[in-house]
Amino acid sequence: MSPPNDPTPAAPVAGHDLERLRHFYNQMLRIRRFEEAAARAYTQGKISGFLHLYIGQEAIAVATADLMRPGDRVVTTYRDHGFAVALGCDTGACMAELYGKKTGLVGGNGGSMHFFAKEQGLWGGYAIVGGHVPVATGHAFASKYLGDGAVTLCFLGEGAMHIGATHEGMHLAGLWRLPVVFVIENNQYAMGTPLRRQTAVDDLTVRAPAYRMTSDRWVVRDVFETRARLARAIEQAREESQPSLIELLTYRFRGHSMSDPGKYRSKDEVDQWKERDPLHRAQVQLRDEHGVSEEELDALDERIGEEMDAAVEFAESSPLPDPEHRFRGHYVEDDLAAGGEG
C-alpha cells in the first residue's frame, strides 16, 4: 500500500523553533536507537518472546508526550516502547524489562508488550487487540467522575477497529461524552494483512459520527503538524469533554514483530514510506533550515548511542527477579505481607 494522498496538505506549522525541533528530534532518535538496540539483543538471543518495534511511528509518541499534562494518561498496545521512552521512562529500566530482569519497568512480569509507568503517564501496553479500549474509556470515565481535568489518550492499530471491544469502548465514550482521544495508528498492516483485506472502507474515521465523535485524519510526516492537530483533539477532550477519533496514516519500517520477515510488502512500498519518515524530515530541517552541523548531529547520535549502550549494559548486568516474585502482585494483601515489594 503506497502512502495515501494526504487529505490535507502538510503545511509548515508555526512554533517551529530550534529548541523544540531539537528536542523532538532527540526524542524520536532515542526511540529509534532504543529499538535498534533491542532488535540487536533479540537477534543475539538475549531477548525472547515478542518484540514489536515502533520504528517509523516515533513522531506520534513524541508529539503526544509533548502535549501531556500531569495526570493525563496514555493507554496503548503491545507496540509500546516508543511511548515509554517519549514519556520519560528510564531506558535502562525499559531495556531491563525486555531482558526479563528484576530492575525492569514492571519487574520482569510483563516484557515488551506490557510497559506500565503510572508516574510517567503510561497507563499501559496491552496485548489483546482492542481489549484496552474500554479500559481507556474507564480512565476517562473516572476523570469525568472525579473532575480531575485529565485526558486519556488511547492508541490502537487500525487492525483493532474491527473487534468488538473497540466498538463498545468507543461507543460508551461517545454516549457519555468522556474526555478521551482515540488515536488509530494506521500503519497499513495488521501483521501481514493490508488494510484492504481488513476492512470494508478506506477511511476509518467514517465511524466517528456513529459514536458522536469528531474526527481528524492525516499522514504523519511532520512531528509539528502531528502535535498541532493532536493538540486540538486533546483540548476538545479537556475543555468540552468531547471525545474524538483520529486516524494517523503511518508505517512501521520493520516487520510486525521480530519473527516477521515482512515479505508481504514490496521494497518499493517501504522505500516510499521511508521518504516520509518524520525522523528524517526533522533531521533535514535541523540541518537545512536551522544550519545544525553534521558534527552536531553525529554528536547527538553518539550521545544517544551511549545512553542505549548503558541501557543494554544495565539490563545485562541486572539480576533476575527473585524466584518468589512470581507469587507477588496478584493480591494487594500478598504484597503487603511481602513488605510492599510489589
Binding site: V133, V135, T137, G138, R328, Y331
Partner: protein
C-alpha cells in the same frame, strides 16, 4: 436484628458503602431508571443520582472494561451483570484485564472492583440463561470469588467485597433474592475466605455454596430422619478456598459429598474434591461424590430442568451412598 430478603441485604450493603465512600458507584444494564432487573439496586438512582448509578447500553465487555479502567484510576465500581450468563461476552476483560493488571504492572495499579449478579439456573430460562459461571472464574489467579446464600452472608460479604482492594466476582441467585433472614442492625463485615458451618454434624460432611445451600440443608434434614448426621459447610468464598474448614470437618466425618449448582466437568466442585482427596487422603473412608447438574445443556421443559438440577432427594441418595460405603 431485622428480617431482610437477600435482595434487600445486598441493596443495604451497596447503599451503606456508597454512603461511606464517594468513589463507590454502580454500573450496569437497567440498574438505575429501571431500579434493577431484579430490583437489587432499587431506589439507589433516586438517592445517589446518575453519576453514581450508571445505566449502560448492552455492552458487557465495554462496561466491564470501563469498570476496570475506572478502578485503576481510583474509583470503586460495582459492576452488575444482569445475570452472570452475560459475562460470557466480557470473559476476556475479566480474564486478561481484571485478573492480571495488578500483577502485570508489578503492583502499580490496584483494582478495587466488584462484578456481581445472579448466577446458575433460575426457572425455565433454558440453556443460555442457566449457567453457573463461578467454575470458570475460580480458576483465574488474581480474583476472589464469593457466592452467597443468606441475607446475613450477602450483606456482610458484599460489604467486604466492596472494600476489598482486589477484583471480586460476587455470585447471587435469582431464585433466592426473596429468601429472608435476620441481619444485624449494626454494621458488620464478614471476612472473605471463611467458610461457614450452616449445620453442625458428626456423620458426613456436605460441602455446598450458593443455590446449593438450601438443597444441601434440605437433604441434611431428610438424612437426619434416617439417622445420618450431616455437617453442612457453606464455602461462601470459592477463591481463596477455606481448605481448613473443609479438612477439619472431613477429618472428623471421614466422608464428603458436594452439593451445588453447576456442571460436573471440572470447576469448583472438582477442585474441592481433589483437595480433599489430596489433603485428607488418610481420613477418607469413602469416595467423594458430587451432586450437581447433569452433564447437559439446561433444557427449558420444567420436568427436565428439575431432573438436571440437584434436588434434596437426589442429594440424599448420594449422601446415603457415601455414608454407607464400605471398602
Amino acid at each position: 436484628m431485622t428480617v431482610l430478603q437477600i435482595r434487600e441485604a445486598l441493596r443495604a450493603a451497596i447503599d451503606e458503602e456508597m454512603a461511606r465512600d464517594d468513589r463507590v458507584f454502580v454500573m450496569g444494564e437497567e440498574v438505575g431508571h429501571y431500579d434493577g432487573a431484579y430490583k437489587v439496586t432499587e431506589g439507589l438512582l433516586a438517592k445517589y443520582g446518575e453519576q453514581r448509578v450508571v445505566d449502560t447500553p448492552i455492552a458487557e465487555a465495554g462496561f466491564a472494561g470501563v469498570g476496570i479502567g475506572a478502578a485503576m484510576a481510583g474509583l470503586r465500581p460495582i459492576v452488575e451483570f444482569m445475570t452472570f450468563n452475560f459475562s460470557a461476552v466480557a470473559f476476556d476483560q475479566i480474564l486478561n484485564n481484571a485478573a492480571k493488571l495488578r500483577q502485570l504492572s508489578n503492583g502499580q495499579f490496584t483494582l478495587p472492583i466488584v462484578f456481581r449478579g445472579p448466577n446458575a439456573a433460575a426457572h425455565m430460562l433454558s440453556s443460555t440463561h442457566s449457567q453457573a459461571f463461578e467454575s470458570f472464574y475460580c480458576g483465574f489467579p488474581g480474583v476472589k470469588v464469593i457466592s452467597v446464600a443468606t441475607p446475613y452472608d450477602a450483606k456482610g460479604l458484599l460489604k467486604s467485597a466492596i472494600r476489598d482492594d482486589n477484583p471480586v466476582l460476587f455470585f447471587e441467585s435469582e431464585v433466592m433474592y426473596s429468601v429472608k433472614g435476620e441481619v444485624p442492625d449494626e454494621e458488620y463485615l464478614i471476612p472473605i475466605g471463611k467458610a461457614d458451618i450452616k449445620r453442625p454434624g458428626e456423620g458426613i460432611t456436605v460441602i455446598t455454596w450458593g443455590q446449593g445451600v438450601p438443597v444441601a440443608l434440605a437433604a441434611a434434614e431428610l438424612a437426619a430422619r434416617d439417622g445420618l448426621d450431616c455437617e453442612v459447610i457453606d464455602l461462601r468464598t470459592l477463591r481463596p478456598l477455606d481448605d481448613e474448614a473443609v479438612l477439619a470437618s472431613v477429618r472428623k466425618t471421614n466422608r464428603a459429598v458436594l452439593v451445588y449448582h453447576g456442571w460436573p466437568y471440572g470447576g469448583t466442585g472438582a477442585e474441592v474434591s481433589d483437595r480433599i482427596q489430596r489433603l485428607a487422603f488418610d481420613h477418607l473412608d469413602a469416595p467423594i461424590e458430587r451432586v450437581c447438574y447433569d452433564d447437559v445443556n439446561m433444557p427449558y421443559a420444567e420436568n427436565l430442568e428439575q431432573l438436571v438440577i440437584p434436588s434434596p432427594e437426589r442429594a440424599l441418595e448420594v449422601i446415603r451412598k457415601v455414608a454407607y460405603y464400605r471398602i
